[in-house]
């Protein structure tokens, strides 16, 4: 398959004659990972999303922990989520296509919609400012009745009219028992997600695919749930349909802003995978064991250490797993909140994939004076602050004594690792995701990608590769793409996803050899790069 101007080789099956794709071994593989091996992008089947939330959100987990229900409550544990993971290859129409057909069937042409949007916004000063118009990506949250809740750019107050238009579009299509998924107009994609009580709209002229936008909107929706819980959200809107949700979200805007920024730069959210801080196996074990020994507290569900958006360790209660999406929300919470740096904090957080109906209480504290290493203890017991605070003191003392904090700190200062360390010429950068453990690794950004703008371009290329490989209509296993400035190789197997960026002159055989070599290198380093066991309390 040849694309315009750029050559592209698609290998739809693995039994190709293009070279040796050896997928026997997936580095970073483990049966005992602390995360769900699920892929959010593959779970994004639109019809599932529009169904009532109780189908996709998980509830009762907290309740069952509190009541210490017996083992047969497995159906309530998030463990079983995967069974309804939809099969992506089920011949689903691509989102863009179906949106167009829908729009057409409702006899509104895309052009007309654009016009009507433009006309509506004419008298809005904010909307008309070139600055606002030139933003690459907009995200809006509005209530079902069209009340503004959040806008990434500009002030929601001034966007009342445009949000009204969005609400009108959605409900117009809904009236004919249909749903509006996306509109493509020129370079812009408008993506709509309708969930219980909220409408989320994403507009991009960037490299994001429609499906990737949908995933981002899912994240934003889950962030709302994380702040409010699904129960509270439903309750409020059942009482008053036109409630102004901004009142309850005061102070939470920064979570949305930060999350959206993370999504534009952090591949983990795109890949539904977690990045671990590279650390010697033994050191990581010591840290985990220290937590296990010193935080034996009833009702403590998860204990984790996060440093610079990377996971250092995670200890969990038996039977319960953390979903990578929930972990990203936790990382976002830590990343966006300066106030945790001042003192130990005690804050409620809802993890939508874990239990959307209630809060866990999080004890948040930094273990070092530079405020880089953050310990989170998540419990279902609202009154356990002082107990957990003592645990934290003990953990801190021990970790200092075993020089573990020092090890974390030096790993942070060394940064991750350089592409050169893999010893592969012409390889510029890569992302490797171990699917069974939902973790990924990638080297530091180096020249030319550390220049301003270039990092964004690189991320755009990964989005493109990811999009091509995961297109629901035509999923691929291998994609070899020769671009103007670099050559890209994407390769997905049962065990892993690999996205590699080479210099422009690399040949296909060369690239295949290189990735096989790379896989061997990752295999050698897997103990350091991934968390392969999952300690429990």
């Amino acid at each position: 398959m040849a694309a315009l101007g750029e050559a592209e080789q698609v290998v739809a099956t693995t039994d190709s004659d293009q070279g040796d794709f050896n997928e026997a071994e997936a580095p970073g593989k483990s049966d005992d990972a602390p995360f769900f091996p699920s892929d959010s992008i593959e779970e994004l089947i639109y019809d599932d999303l529009t169904e009532a939330d109780h189908q996709t959100l998980h509830k009762g987990t907290i309740h069952s922990i509190v009541r210490q229900t017996s083992y047969d409550s497995r159906s309530e544990t998030p463990n079983t989520v995967d069974q309804d993971t939809p099969d992506i290859s089920a011949g689903e129409e691509s989102l863009e296509d179906s949106a167009e057909t829908q729009v057409n069937s409702n006899s509104i042409s895309v052009g007309e919609q654009e016009e009507c949007l433009d006309a509506e916004v004419e008298d809005e000063e904010d909307v008309n400012s070139p600055n606002w118009k030139n933003q690459k990506k907009h995200v809006f949250i509005l209530s079902e009745s069209g009340k503004p809740v959040y806008s990434r750019h500009g002030h929601e107050d001034k966007l009342v009219t445009i949000m009204g238009v969005m609400q009108a579009l959605v409900s117009f299509v809904q009236d004919s028992k249909d749903s509006l998924r996306s509109i493509v107009a020129g370079k812009h994609k408008f993506v709509f997600l309708v969930r219980d009580h909220l409408i989320l709209v994403g507009v991009t002229r960037g490299t994001d695919s429609t499906q990737q936008m949908l995933l981002q909107l899912m994240y934003v929706y889950n962030q709302v749930i994380s702040v409010l819980t699904h129960s509270q959200l439903s309750k409020i809107f059942k009482q008053r349909r036109n409630y102004d949700l901004r009142r309850l979200l005061t102070g939470a805007e920064k979570f949305f802003d930060n999350l959206l920024n993370l999504m534009d730069s952090e591949p983990g959210l795109l890949l539904s995978a977690v990045r671990c801080l590279p650390l010697d196996n033994q050191v990581r074990d010591i840290i985990a064991q220290t937590i296990v020994q010193n935080a034996k507290v009833k009702d403590l569900v998860f204990a984790l250490i996060i440093a610079k958006n990377q996971l250092v360790t995670l200890v969990r209660m038996k039977k319960y797993y953390l979903h990578s999406m929930d972990l990203h929300l936790i990382i976002n919470l830590v990343n966006a909140s300066e106030s945790f740096k001042e003192a130990e904090s005690w804050t409620p957080i809802c993890l939508p994939k874990f239990d959307a109906s209630g809060y866990l209480q999080a004890h948040v504290s930094y273990l070092d004076s530079d405020c880089q290493v953050c310990l989170l203890l998540l419990s279902v017991d609202r009154d356990s602050f002082f107990t957990l605070s003592e645990c934290k003191d003990k953990i801190k003392t021990r970790l200092t004594r075993y020089n573990a904090l020092e090890a974390i700190d030096s790993s942070l200062r060394r940064k991750s690792y350089s592409t050169q360390q893999c010893g592969i010429t012409d390889l510029r950068h890569f992302l490797y995701k171990a699917r069974s453990t939902a973790q990924y690794t990638s080297p530091e950004l180096e020249a030319p990608y550390c220049l301003p703008g270039e990092d964004e371009r690189l991320f755009g290329m990964y989005q493109y590769l990811h999009h091509r490989i995961h297109t629901s209509g035509r999923p691929l296993k291998i994609l070899f793409h020769v671009g103007q400035y670099e050559t890209l190789l994407g390769w997905v197997t049962q065990g892993f996803e690999l996205y590699a960026v080479f210099g422009p002159l690399v040949t296909k055989t060369g690239a295949i050899h290189a990735v096989n070599k790379l896989l061997r290198w990752i295999k050698r380093e897997e103990d350091r790069l991934f968390i392969l066991n999952s300690p429990t309390f």
């Binding site: 005061t250 102070g251 909140s337 106030s339 003192a343 130990e344 005690w346 804050t347 409620p348 609202r382």
Partner: protein, 210 residues
């Protein structure tokens, strides 16, 4: 319904000024509640203040009882440039009186007294109100560090007096030199008086085991 949360009145700034001795303009809104401790010696009592600095936003309001339930003192902070934040105090006082059955020291703080030109709440009104609910009253400025020291000292004195007058009140287990305070809330400071001595010693004792 006009329960506008009294966010941004400067609770965290007040606490940080007292505990950490500094002021930062860039204090970000508290998420949930932050916990501070402060130790001092006062009138031959060793006092340990345990302070809950709680978030003022409405969505955290349901958490409040968690903090004030066992508290011995409440600091109610309002912003002298905002009438609303002053009126909200009245709701908090009602709530506290309803839900806390042990004696509690209340202290009304009018923060941001450096912004005299924007003043909306007069000193006389506030003082009169404080008097009517039997609370201490101070006007403070976390920026200029005025009044805060005084406020915390007076609250501590009151607590000690409480302890002397009702040694067997709900504060119970208080050991003579130990006195523990929690502050919290959009507005409240709470004190709790469990014996912290034992708890503090345990980690060290265990530490030898390793």
């Amino acid at each position: 319904m006009n329960v506008i949360p009294n966010t941004g009145v400067g609770k965290t700034s007040v606490v940080i000024r007292y505990v950490g001795g500094m002021f930062s303009k860039a204090v970000s809104p508290t998420i949930g509640a932050s916990f501070f401790t402060y130790k001092m010696t006062l009138d031959s009592y060793r006092v340990k203040l345990q302070v809950w600095d709680t978030a003022g936003q409405e969505r955290f309001r349901s958490m409040a009882p968690m903090y004030y339930r066992k508290a011995n003192a409440a600091m109610l902070v309002y912003d002298i440039t905002s009438l609303e934040s002053f009126y909200d105090i009245k709701d908090w006082v009602k709530e506290l009186k309803k839900n806390v059955d042990t004696p509690i020291v209340m202290c009304l703080l009018g923060n941001k007294s450096d912004l005299e030109s924007g003043r909306k709440v007069s000193t006389a009104d506030a003082a009169e109100y404080a008097n009517s609910i039997d609370a201490l009253f101070f006007e403070t400025s976390a920026l200029k560090n005025t009044g805060i020291e005084d406020a915390f000292l007076q609250v501590s004195r009151q607590l000690i007096k409480f302890y002397e007058t009702y040694p067997n009140s709900g504060l119970g287990i208080l050991s003579p030199q130990q006195d523990v305070t929690d502050i919290f809330s959009s507005s409240s400071e709470n004190v709790r008086l469990p014996t912290r001595e034992n708890q503090q010693k345990t980690p060290e004792a265990e530490g030898c085991g390793c």
